[in-house]
């Protein structure tokens, strides 16, 4: 038999060792890497699927917001501030309060003060400077209207000077906000 010859057995042994070291062992290493890749891909796929599911859930939540609530939110923090509309509303408020609005000036966007909390969400600030003349009650009514507005009209600075006649002059800096 050919298998019995010494030479054949040497060749078989060499082939066996060769197969193990040249093919089996590197393939084992390759299998390990492929398994790791599969695990990694499975994890990433799982993460992407989670994100997709979460995104779908959030989109559903946004879609479930009522039109009136969405309108209120977009009014409260609009994309952009229309300075003409805001100035007009400030004038209407002063008239409703019975005070005399001497002047309004739009100061455009202003930087956020340095002392604002670090965790603050970035938001664009718009400043309006106005000068109001009226009685204390009228001025206070005007301030009440500012607070009851559908979007924030925050008083950043205010200076009130009273006169002997009971008329007070107020210089007010009002800040409102926009999303962009």
């Amino acid at each position: 038999m050919i298998f019995n010859s010494f030479f054949t057995q040497i060749v078989m042994a060499a082939l066996a060792v060769g197969i193990i070291f040249v093919y089996v062992q590197p393939t084992f290493t390759s299998i390990g890497l492929i398994q790791e890749s599969i695990t990694q891909y499975q994890e990433e796929t799982s993460k992407v699927s989670e994100v997709n599911a979460r995104l779908s859930s959030l989109v559903s939540k946004i879609n479930s917001i009522s039109a009136s609530d969405m309108k209120a939110l977009l009014t409260y923090i609009p994309d952009e501030v229309d300075e003409v509309a805001v100035s007009r509303e400030l004038l209407i408020m002063s008239e409703e309060a019975g005070a005399y609005l001497e002047s309004i000036k739009y100061e455009e966007t202003v930087p956020i003060p340095a002392m604002v909390n670090e965790s603050s969400v970035e938001v664009v600030r718009h400043s309006f400077s106005l000068s109001l003349i009226g009685t204390y009650v009228q001025t206070k009514t005007f301030l009440t209207f500012l607070e009851q507005n559908n979007y924030p009209l925050e008083i950043s600075k205010m200076s009130i000077i009273s006169s002997e006649t009971g008329i007070i002059t107020s210089d007010i800096e009002i800040i409102t906000y926009s999303h962009n």
Partner: protein, 239 residues
């Protein structure tokens, strides 16, 4: 001679037994191991090859799955959600730091004693959580100043940081020794007065803006939101 072979003393050779001994193989342990090793290597190579092919197929399936998952990600939805989230955070934060200046004025009204008068009031919202106030006040005596300071120190909303620029504007006594013949001094100053600036601070958390329901988002200023008469009644002792 029939049957003679059976009686011979010479043992007969069994032909089949001989041939069996002739073909008996000599198997060595080394060659046995070599054969096992060889076939084991072949089988291992085959198994490894097949398993690797299977894994590669699985990997391709996973890659396809990931690509499909990534492809199903909707960037427009994500952008919409991020924008909405930011807007909600902005609105929430502004609501959190909203302050009612009217409430601050109300607190000032309640804290000002009868003998004191505010000539000028400055409010400065230095940051989201603090409002600083400077009230330039005038009164007749130092006792009134002391009393006013005590009242301010006991305030819940207003926190006094100090009293600055304390100035006495006195009137000369009705005596020629002080007034002399110059009547101008007596004309200009009829009453003594003490002026000072009260420096106050308000924590925004103490004066949150309270939303008054006014019937939805459409309303603006169609009708008075605040009863002005009640405001007037509440503030008769104002500035």
């Amino acid at each position: 001679m029939p049957g003679s072979s059976n009686t011979s003393f010479i043992p007969k050779r069994n032909p089949t037994q001989k041939s069996r001994q002739d073909v008996k193989k000599k198997v060595f342990l080394g060659s046995f191991i070599v054969r096992i090793l060889f076939f084991a290597a072949l089988i291992a190579a085959a198994i490894v090859f097949v398993y690797e092919m299977k894994l590669k197929k699985d990997l391709n399936t996973e890659i396809r799955g990931l690509n499909e998952a990534v492809a199903s990600f909707n960037e427009a939805d994500m952008e919409r959600v991020v924008k909405m989230d930011l807007r909600l955070k902005q609105a929430y934060e502004r609501r959190q730091y909203s302050a009612s200046i009217v409430t601050v004025l109300g607190a000032i009204e309640k804290s000002i004693t009868v003998n004191n008068k505010i000539n000028e009031l400055k409010l400065d919202r230095v940051d989201d959580s603090t409002i600083e106030i400077e009230a330039e006040m005038e009164t007749g005596t130092y006792d009134s100043v002391l009393f006013q300071r005590t009242v301010l120190e006991k305030g819940n909303i207003l926190h006094i940081d100090g009293i600055d620029e304390l100035t006495l504007h006195n009137v000369p006594p009705d005596n020629l020794f002080f007034t002399g013949t110059d009547s101008k001094i007596k004309d200009t100053k009829t009453k003594p007065g003490v002026k000072f600036i009260a420096k106050l601070a308000v924590d925004v958390a103490d004066v949150p803006h309270k939303v008054v329901p006014v019937g939805g988002v459409e309303i603006l200023f169609e009708e008075p939101i605040v009863n002005q008469e009640s405001v007037a009644d509440n503030n008769q002792e104002g500035l």
